[in-house]
Symmetry: C2
Subunit: 209 residues, 2 copies
DNA sequence: GTTTAATTTAAACGCTTGTTTAATTTATTT
DNA sequence: AAATAAATTAAACAAGCGTTTAAATTAAAC
């Protein structure tokens, strides 16, 4: 069996690694933790991926492949600008929420280190997504629906940032909002939090003084 | 000399710890790193703070002690609700921007429940700040200025999250917005980013369908 | 069925970690 | 000046780390 392709066992390791990295951080997670939870021998990580660092690389590539496509598809749908924005928010939140771990790593773990070869691919992804958002917003502006003094590159930080801050303070909000179970927590994100972000961005885009 | 109070040497250790924690994370920073950079003996950290975990605790308390006071002062100022919200945002952003390191730690390291329990004091701080925000918003609602279907606990995530996402993607926005120098970057935060957040929250609070 | 390759394993490697010890230096008090 | 307390140090500690080894097991090829 090849060591480059992703077989079931490698994927299993990646899934466990994502879970643990997102819970305890990259440095805070040991290969022994991973191998124990994935029920494989410690040496298998090195055997499959070469090193812990290369495991992280493989994990990033594994998880960040098809978001761009999803957004570009939305771009060409026949929808009103506001509906497109709302759907974009939904895609973003759902996407990040389903891949919490990897986005946590991307935003916090990777920025602290000097991993520019990995960041380059990710930067291109971000630029493309911003371009898509710009297209949607300018469409709404030219239709006279959206106001024109909005700084478009700062919209994404508000969307993503709101989610991240919420999720990063998970224990705090779990207690505050009585989200005792994982289901309750996920439902709150899917409904209330997503709605809050949509409401916020809508207000920002269409509100007139 | 007492071990509880903060003398110059303890403060020196805390400053170094903040710098290294923010650069390399909590797990990624060793006590040897800290002691080397602070030019003290390895044992001094344990001697002064007891453990690495308690050093983090001391660091958090050291850096987040007077924010609560600052916000409670604002609460009793004679200002319109919207002006209070705007000033609150200004306080938050300025505050976080001046203490980037520590807030990075807070977001990055405090996600695990286990650690959150150790830092109950900080949770209380957050609750108090939320209470203050609630007071301001409800004041605006009772005056008929703010809409009433806003989820107040989600306002802070939008304020803080927007800043954090921006700052976490510093290299990306530096290139995108041509913020070539540190001064340009800081000015952008102080002016454009802060204004964007204020504009967003204002729209969220006063926008009517 | 034998040979060859791929997978899996337990054990050990060298190194770093956070913390503790006990001795020494420095400062304070009597 | 002597006695006591505080600060600082080098060294050692056990535990955990990522990684490597070499042997054992399983699968594939001939």
């Amino acid at each position: 069996m090849s060591k480059v392709e992703l077989n079931d066992k490698k994927i299993q390791i990646l899934e466990v690694a994502e879970k643990l990295f997102s819970e305890k951080g990259f440095e805070g997670t040991s290969i022994r933790d991973i191998s124990k939870m994935a029920k494989i021998n410690i040496a298998m990580v090195s055997y499959y991926f070469g090193s812990k660092e290369r495991l992280l690389e493989a994990l990033l590539l594994y998880k960040t492949s098809d978001l761009k496509l999803q957004i570009e598809l939305l771009l060409h749908e026949n929808l009103e600008p506001l509906d497109k924005v709302n759907k974009l928010i939904e895609i973003y939140i759902n996407r990040i929420n389903c891949n919490r771990g990897i986005y946590r790593i991307l935003h916090f773990e990777l920025t602290s280190k000097k991993r520019e070869e990995n960041l380059a691919a990710f930067t291109e992804l971000k630029k493309g997504n911003l371009k898509s958002l710009e297209t949607i917003v300018k469409e709404g502006q030219s239709k006279g629906i959206f106001r024109k003094d909005v700084i478009i590159p700062l919209i994404t930080p508000t969307i993503m940032g709101t989610f991240f801050h919420f999720h990063m303070n998970k224990p705090f909000f779990e207690e505050l909002l009585n989200l005792n179970t994982e289901t309750l927590y996920n439902d709150y994100i899917k409904n209330s939090l997503t709605k809050h972000i949509q409401q916020t961005i809508k207000a920002l885009l269409v509100y007139e003084n």
